[in-house]
């Protein structure tokens, strides 16, 4: 890992909302990004894990951002469209695996 900044320590959900990977979230799920990790996704991304990590961060997938899953594709429910603060972003589930969100308590 080239990341010099220590990943914030994350334990299990601090409140009643569960912490899940964005890659498994369903439309309607909303919450706060609690962790964006580097290197835990499976499969070959053709770019280094560090690169994918930085791309996610550049698009605004950062800890503390509000996120809501809006739509999903017709085939294998992929890709997903999310609202990230005031923006809308489309991404594939496999690229979303390293974004952890804490779902709002119902």
């Amino acid at each position: 890992m080239h990341d010099t900044l220590a990943e914030p320590e994350k334990t299990a959900a601090a409140t009643d909302g569960a912490t899940v990977r964005l890659s498994v979230a369903k439309p309607g799920d909303r919450g706060v990004i609690v962790d964006v990790q580097a290197g835990r996704q499976s499969g070959d991304h053709g770019v280094s894990v560090d690169e994918l990590h930085r791309r996610l961060l550049e698009f605004g997938f950062v800890e503390g951002a509000r996120i809501e899953v809006l739509h999903e594709g017709a085939i294998w429910r992929d890709p997903i469209a999310v609202r990230l603060d005031d923006m809308r972003i489309g991404l594939r589930r496999r690229d979303a695996a390293d974004v952890w969100i804490q779902l709002d308590a119902e």
Binding site: H45, R54, E58, F59, A81, G90, L91, R92
Partner: protein
């Protein structure tokens, strides 16, 4: 807003009356609209030295008599460039681009309703140290939404003056120019460049800083945009979204082929008439042959597709400006992703239905080199318009016009089948390329879905004009030498005195044709067909005229009926079908090969394309011919 110092008369110390300005910003920030509002029609499109990215520059004359050259750089989220477009932006901003002087002032264009990501870009740009003005564009929308931005506070926090603009209404443009002038007049030199590629921790830090600035100076909208959300509910819906996408595509293709028909025919007739005029007024000979058969019919054969390309681009630009194209890529991503293509490859492949040349040229938006290469390699498999005359000729000669199941016409079905074969083979080749050569590596797919905006007709037309101009100049410079080569092959040496066969028979092309004939015999091609394939390399539909030449049928272009009758007498059905199969795959277009060379900057990829497409064509024609022969159609 911050500096009220307006430039007075140019000071005597003013080093030069010209200054270089670069426009930077996120995609979808209205940067191009602002560029158009600033420069009007004083724009010039060229290429950056050594790369194939378009260089858009325009001039603004200021009230103080200065001329500002404005460079419109490709949109980016970060100076950490990935696509060839973004590399240009980074290098131009850093002043590292070969043959480009560093800009004196940067104008950062931001969508006022979507500031978060651009604030992080601004922080990166600040590190570069050049004087900068922030243009808060689409300010009217921000106001309508009730977004309150503390302009002075924001300007203080980011450390550069801010001008609010509405590019589509040309509002704030004078202020922007005045602000740029003020920076130049004040002799702002900027600070030292401390930019370096940020690591993950630094990106996080910049986001925190951007968030802090945003929180301190921007109050959330009272009436946030709900339109985009509602429209997306329909357009991104798994069922209705795909249904609407396919309906749109259907309407688009209808338009491409019906609206542009008259204009295309007119252009075609114009070129034939010009050729005929020259032939009538110049003594017959080499020069006349070169002008009419080489130059005019060659260039004409490609330019007749200009109306189709323009209609197609009109739709693409319109949908792009509306914000729909990102949705189309989203909807198509999984379908294309199954074949290992990026969702963004959708637009280049769509363009390739008109002509592979603009399709290949538009692959530059794809970040990743491998994704881009795959898209380039399969784009010519899409059924371009140049195949239509060939398909039409062969279908009318060999496919009986009967109804299938009472309603569908057999020729129509065959045409549909040929289109489908193109699409399926493109997806198949890309799938195999992924599996075989790149071992399943799949690039990340991350894309902003911009808010929907009503397209501005003036900007759409300006972009269309630009696209057309780029196609003509780019294609023209590649097509011309190719045409001359093909004409040379088909004309030299000339027929001996008293020859009875068509002149092309005695030419180099004729000899090559005869030489290749044994190789093509297993796929049912006779020597006339083989000879016609050589000029057919100029452009696919030239094969129609070339067949007319070898079968000595004059004016085969204008009245293919006679040629079709002749072909149906000379060819077996198996041969006709094999010829169709050949044309689905064969790289019968020298210009496409030339464009691939240009876009990939190497001879390797055009060579690979030539080999794999010819191989597929041979294989397909072989299977079709042998199967048809075995079924008694030989």
């Amino acid at each position: 807003m911050t500096d009220a110092t307006l430039p007075t008369a140019p000071l005597s110390s003013a080093p030069s009356s010209n200054a270089r300005i670069a426009l930077v910003g996120n995609p979808n920030s209205g940067k191009t609209a602002l560029f158009n509002a600033l420069t009007g029609s004083r724009q010039k499109v060229a290429n950056y030295a050594g790369v194939t990215v378009e260089r858009k520059e325009g001039q603004v004359a200021t009230s103080s008599g200065r001329t500002l050259s404005i460079l419109d750089l490709p949109g980016t989220y970060s100076l950490r460039a990935r696509s060839p477009d973004e590399v240009v932006t980074r290098d131009a901003v850093l002043g590292k681009l070969a043959g480009e002087a560093p800009p004196d002032v940067l104008i950062c264009v931001a969508d006022a309703t979507n500031l978060r990501l651009v604030l992080r870009l601004i922080l990166e740009l600040k590190a570069v140290g050049r004087p900068m003005v922030l243009a808060l564009n689409m300010y009217d929308i921000a106001q309508r939404q009730g977004l309150r931005i503390d302009l002075e506070g924001l300007a203080r926090d980011i450390g550069c003056p801010i001008v609010t603009t509405v590019a589509t209404r040309k509002r704030g443009i004078e202020d922007l120019v005045a602000q740029v002038e003020a920076l130049i007049a004040a002799g702002a030199l900027g600070a030292e460049n401390t930019w370096h590629e940020p690591d993950a921790g630094q990106i996080r830090g910049a986001h925190r800083e951007a968030q802090r600035i945003l929180k301190a100076n921007v109050q959330a909208a009272d009436r946030p945009d709900t339109f985009t959300g509602k429209v997306d509910g329909v357009l991104l819906h798994p069922v209705s979204g795909l249904a609407i996408l396919f309906t749109l595509l259907f309407v688009m293709f209808q338009a491409v082929f019906t609206w542009s028909k008259a204009a295309g025919d007119l252009l075609g007739e114009g070129f034939s008439a010009t050729g005929a005029f020259i032939a009538a007024h110049l003594p017959p000979g080499l020069l006349t042959s070169f002008l009419t058969d080489g130059l005019i019919s060659g260039v004409g054969s490609v330019l007749v597709f200009l109306p189709q390309i323009l209609v197609l681009f009109f739709f693409i630009i319109l949908l792009e400006d509306f914000g729909y194209m990102a949705r189309a890529a989203f909807l198509m991503d999984r379908i294309m992703g199954g074949a290992g293509l990026h969702g963004r490859a959708f637009i280049p492949l769509l363009s390739s239905f008109a002509c592979a040349i603009p399709g290949i040229m538009s692959t530059r938006v794809i970040d990743n080199k491998r994704d881009r290469l795959t898209t380039i390699m399969v784009a010519p498999l899409m059924t371009c318009s140049a195949r239509i005359p060939v398909y039409t000729l062969i279908i009318s000669a060999f496919i009986p016009n009967v109804k299938v199941a009472g309603v569908l016409s057999l020729p129509g079905l065959v045409m549909f089948g040929l289109y489908a074969a193109g699409i399926v083979s493109a997806l198949g080749v890309s799938f195999i390329t992924r599996r075989l050569f790149w071992r399943g590596a799949v690039e990340p797919f991350l894309m902003e879905l911009p808010t929907y905006k009503l397209p501005d007709l003036v900007n759409v037309l300006r972009s269309l004009y630009l696209r057309g101009k780029i196609f003509i100049t780019r294609a023209g410079t590649i097509i011309l030498p190719m045409m001359i080569l093909v004409w040379f092959l088909s004309s030299f040496p000339g027929a001996p005195a008293g020859a009875s066969d068509p002149a092309i028979n005695y030419s180099l092309a004729g000899r090559i044709g005869h030489l290749l004939q044994p190789i093509l015999a297993p796929i049912g091609f006779n020597w006339q067909m083989t000879v016609a394939l050589i000029p057919g390399f100029a452009a696919r539909e030239v094969a129609v005229a070339a067949l007319g030449t070898v079968y000595a049928i004059g004016n085969a272009d204008a009245s293919p009926g006679a040629l079709a009758t002749t072909l149906s007498h000379h060819w077996s059905i198996a041969t006709g079908l094999a010829f169709l199969a050949w044309y689905v795959f064969a790289p019968q277009c020298a210009s496409t090969i030339g464009v691939v060379k240009r876009e990939t900057n190497s001879w390797l990829w055009p060579a690979v394309m030539l080999v794999y497409m010819t191989g597929l064509a041979y294989l397909a024609a072989f299977i079709v011919y042998q199967t048809a022969k075995a079924s008694g159609l030989g």
